[in-house]
C-alpha cells in the first residue's frame, strides 16, 4: 500500500478539528517563545531552527523521492560563501545583504541543477547518488581549505582557506530613521516566518500530484515510467528544491554567526542532515523540523563537554534508529504511545522496497 508522506488525504474533509489544532501548536509555541525568554536566548533558538531548512530539503528528497543525497552541506557551504563574497564586496547596506542572500540561493540552485542534471540524466541510481554527492562535497571542502593564499581573492573578499571567511554584515531592513539590523529576536522571527513559509509550501507540493508522482517513482521507478511519468524531470526538480533549501540554511547560518569555514562541508558535517532526518522520521517534514531543532540543541549542549561526545551520541542515535526504528524516532515513539493508550496496532506503513539487486 502506497501512502504519501503526510496527510495527503485532504485535511478539511476527514480530519477532526483537534488534531489540526495540535498540529498548529508547535508553531504557536514557537511564535510566543521570545515573549518568555530574553533576546540572547531567542538568538540561540534561531540557530537551532536555521538548520531545519536543510533537513526539510533532505526529508523531501529522501522520504518522498527516495533520493539519498549526502550533498546538503555542499550547497550549505556554497551559498554561505556566496553570501560572504557578495556582501563583503557590496558593503553592509540592506540591499547588499538581501542580494547576498538571494544570489546565494540562486548559486546553490544553479549548482544543484547542474549536478542533478549529471546525476539524473546520467541515470545514476540509488546509493550511487549518495556517493557522487558525497564526493562532490568532499572535493569542495578540499578546494575551499586550500584557498589560504592571497591569490584567492574575489573582489574585496578573501577566501582565507581553512580559517574561513569572517566579518560578513547581518541582514538589515530599511526603516524610518535608519535601517534596522535583524539580530536576536528579530532574526528569530525572520527564520521562523521563512520556516513556516517553506513548511507550508513543501507540504502543499508534496501533497500535490507532483508529490504523489514522486512517491510512485520511489516505490517503483519502472512502473512510474510506464505510466508516463517523466522520472528524470521529477527527480531533478525535487533535487534542486532540496539542495536550494540546504543553501538557504547555509546563507542563514553565515548571517547568524557572520562566519563560514570549509569544515561546515566536511565528512562529519555532511552526516548531520542525514542523522537528523533519519532520526526524526524521513517521511514527515514536520517531524524533521522538530527533530533537527532538538538534536542541534542536544549536540550544542553536549559540545560544552567536548564536541567528540556530541558526535559520538549522534552516531549512536543514528545507529539505534537504523536498527530499531527504521521509520524514525518520532514515528516510533508515537506508535508505541498509540499502542499504550489504545492497544491498537499502528496503521500499516509503506516500506521502501529497496532490493539489493537494484544497484
Amino acid at each position: 500500500m502506497i501512502q504519501p508522506a503526510s496527510g495527503a488525504v485532504s485535511p478539511t474533509l476527514r480530519q477532526p478539528v483537534l488534531p489540526r489544532l495540535l498540529r498548529l501548536a508547535p508553531w504557536v509555541l514557537a511564535f510566543c517563545l521570545p515573549l518568555v525568554v530574553d533576546a540572547n536566548a531567542s538568538g540561540n533558538f534561531a540557530y537551532y531552527l536555521v538548520w531545519a531548512f536543510a533537513a526539510v530539503g533532505l526529508a523531501a528528497m529522501w522520504g518522498q523521492g527516495g533520493i539519498l543525497s549526502f550533498g546538503q552541506t555542499a550547497f550549505f557551504g556554497l551559498s554561505g560563501y556566496t553570501y560572504g563574497i557578495v556582501t563583503l564586496n557590496l558593503g553592509d547596506g540592506w540591499l547588499s545583504s538581501w542580494s547576498g542572500l538571494i544570489i546565494g540561493l540562486v548559486v546553490s540552485a544553479g549548482g544543484a541543477a547542474l549536478l542533478g542534471y549529471m546525476i539524473f540524466y546520467g541515470k545514476i541510481k540509488g546509493v550511487f547518488i549518495g556517493i557522487v554527492t558525497l564526493s562532490v562535497t568532499l572535493v569542495l571542502e578540499t578546494f575551499m581549505a586550500q584557498t589560504a593564499g592571497p591569490q584567492w581573492v574575489i573582489g574585496e573578499a578573501r577566501l582565507n582557506g581553512y580559517n574561513g571567511m569572517t566579518g560578513m554584515p547581518p541582514l538589515t531592513l530599511p526603516w524610518f530613521g535608519g535601517p534596522v539590523t535583524l539580530e536576536n529576536t528579530s532574526f528569530y522571527y525572520l527564520v521562523l516566518v521563512l520556516l513556516a513559509v517553506v513548511y507550508a509550501f513543501t507540504r502543499r507540493l508534496l501533497d500535490s500530484p507532483f508529490g504523489l508522482a514522486l512517491v510512485a517513482i520511489r516505490e517503483n521507478p519502472q512502473r512510474a515510467e510506464m505510466l508516463g511519468i517523466d522520472i528524470r524531470r521529477h527527480q531533478l526538480l525535487i533535487f534542486v528544491l532540496g539542495c536550494t533549501l540546504g543553501g538557504l540554511s547555509g546563507a542563514l547560518y553565515t548571517i547568524w554567526g557572520s562566519y563560514i569555514t570549509p569544515s561546515a562541508m566536511g565528512l562529519t558535517s555532511a552526516a548531520m542532515p542525514v542523522i537528523w532526518v533519519a532520526t526524526a522520521g524521513r517521511k514527515s517534514i514536520g517531524a524533521a523540523i522538530i527533530g533537527t531543532a532538538v538534536l542541534v540543541w542536544l549536540s550544542q549542549w553536549l559540545a560544552i563537554y567536548g564536541s567528540e561526545y556530541a558526535l559520538i551520541l549522534m552516531g549512536a542515535v543514528l545507529l539505534f534508529v537504523v536498527l530499531a526504528a527504521p521509520e524514525g524516532l518520532l514515528p516510533f515513539v508515537s506508535d508505541r504511545a498509540r499502542w499504550v493508550f489504545t492497544r491498537r496496532p499502528s496503521k500499516s506503513r509503506s516500506f521502501e522496497t529497496q532490493k539489493r539487486s537494484e544497484s
Partner: protein
C-alpha cells in the same frame, strides 16, 4: 640520461598514484561488489590497520609482521561489525549506508578521545635511492609492486580457491546457493572481513608514510569511491583498469597543474564515466566474456 630519469620519474608518479587508488579502493570494492553494501566506515578500517601497525612496530615487532597484524585486526573488527550491524540490513541498502556512516562517526570520535588528535608515526623504511638527477623513496617505489601482488592474490582467491567459488555462487543467486547447502551467512561474514582486512592492509602499508590521525581515513575515501564508481561492481576486472586510467589522468594533471586540479580532474572523470557508462568499466569485460 636526463630523459631516462624524467621518464622514470613519470612512471614512479604513475605507480604511486596507481598503488594508492588500487589499495584505497580494494576493500570497498570487495564489500560493494560481493555484497552490494557501500561501506562508509571504510576509512575507519584503514585507520584501524594503520594504528595497530604503528603500535606493534613501536613495541619492537618487525614491520612486515606488524602490518599483517594491522590487517588481521581490521578483519576482526569487520567480523564484529558485520555480526552486530550489517547482518540486519542486507535487504535495506540505504540503511546499511547510513549505519556504516554512524559507525564511522562513532569510531572516529572515540579514537579522538582515546588516542588524542595525533600519534607519533614510524619512519619510512628502506631509505631512498638516486636515479639520474632525482631521488626516490624506495618504499613508495615498492608499493605498486605490492599492490599488484595483492591484486594477484585476490584473483587467485576468487577464481581458484574453494572460498571464491562459493562466494561467487552466493552473489549470483543467494537462495540457490543456500539450497545447495552453502552457509551464505558465513560467506557474507567472511567476505566483509576480507574487505575490512584489505582496508586494514592499506592502512598498514601507508602507516609509515603519513601521520596517524583519527581522521586519516578521510584521505582515502574519495579515491576509494572514485575508483569503485568508475570500476563498477566487478572487483578485479573493474577496479584495476579504473585505477590505471584514473592514475594516468591524476599523474598528468598533477604534474602540469598541481595536486588540487588533479583531484578535481578525478572527480570530473568520474562524473563523465558515469554519464557514459552507468555500470562502470567492469561491465565492458563482462559483455565480452
Amino acid at each position: 640520461m636526463t630523459a631516462l630519469s624524467t621518464l622514470y620519474s613519470v612512471i614512479y608518479q604513475f605507480g604511486d598514484n596507481f598503488a594508492y587508488l588500487v589499495l584505497a579502493a580494494l576493500g570497498l570494492a570487495v564489500i560493494f561488489g560481493m555484497m552490494g553494501v557501500i561501506n562508509l566506515a571504510h576509512g575507519e578500517f584503514i585507520m584501524c590497520g594503520a594504528y595497530v601497525t604503528i603500535i606493534c612496530a613501536k613495541r619492537g615487532i618487525p614491520l612486515p609482521i606488524a602490518m599483517l597484524l594491522g590487517a588481521v585486526a581490521a578483519a576482526c573488527a569487520g567480523v564484529v561489525i558485520e555480526r552486530l550491524v550489517i547482518r540486519h540490513l542486507y535487504d535495506r541498502l540505504f540503511d546499511s549506508v547510513v549505519a556504516t556512516w554512524a559507525i564511522s562517526l562513532i569510531v572516529q570520535q572515540t579514537m579522538l578521545l582515546v588516542a588524542g588528535p595525533s600519534m607519533e608515526g614510524i619512519s619510512t623504511p628502506f631509505g631512498s635511492f638516486v636515479f639520474g638527477e632525482y631521488s626516490f623513496s624506495t618504499y613508495r617505489a615498492v608499493l605498486p609492486i605490492i599492490a599488484l601482488c595483492v591484486l594477484g592474490a585476490l584473483y587467485w582467491l576468487f577464481f581458484r580457491s574453494n572460498y571464491g567459488v562459493c562466494a561467487r555462487a552466493t552473489i549470483q543467486n543467494a537462495n540457490m546457493a543456500q539450497c545447495l547447502g552453502l552457509r551464505t551467512d558465513h560467506l557474507y561474514t567472511l567476505t566483509f572481513a576480507l574487505g575490512a582486512g584489505l582496508a586494514g592492509l592499506t592502512g598498514a602499508l601507508y602507516a609509515p608514510t603519513m601521520t596517524a590521525v583519527p581522521t586519516m581515513g578521510t584521505n582515502f575515501i574519495v579515491q576509494a569511491f572514485v575508483s569503485v564508481v568508475v570500476g563498477g561492481a566487478n572487483v578485479i576486472a573493474g577496479t584495476t583498469p579504473a585505477a590505471a586510467i584514473l592514475a594516468v589522468i591524476q599523474t598528468a594533471l598533477t604534474a602540469s597543474y598541481g595536486q588540487l586540479i588533479g583531484q578535481i580532474g578525478l572527480l570530473l572523470t568520474v562524473i563523465m564515466v558515469i554519464r557514459l557508462m552507468p555500470q562502470g568499466l567492469g561491465n565492458l569485460f563482462n559483455r565480452t566474456r
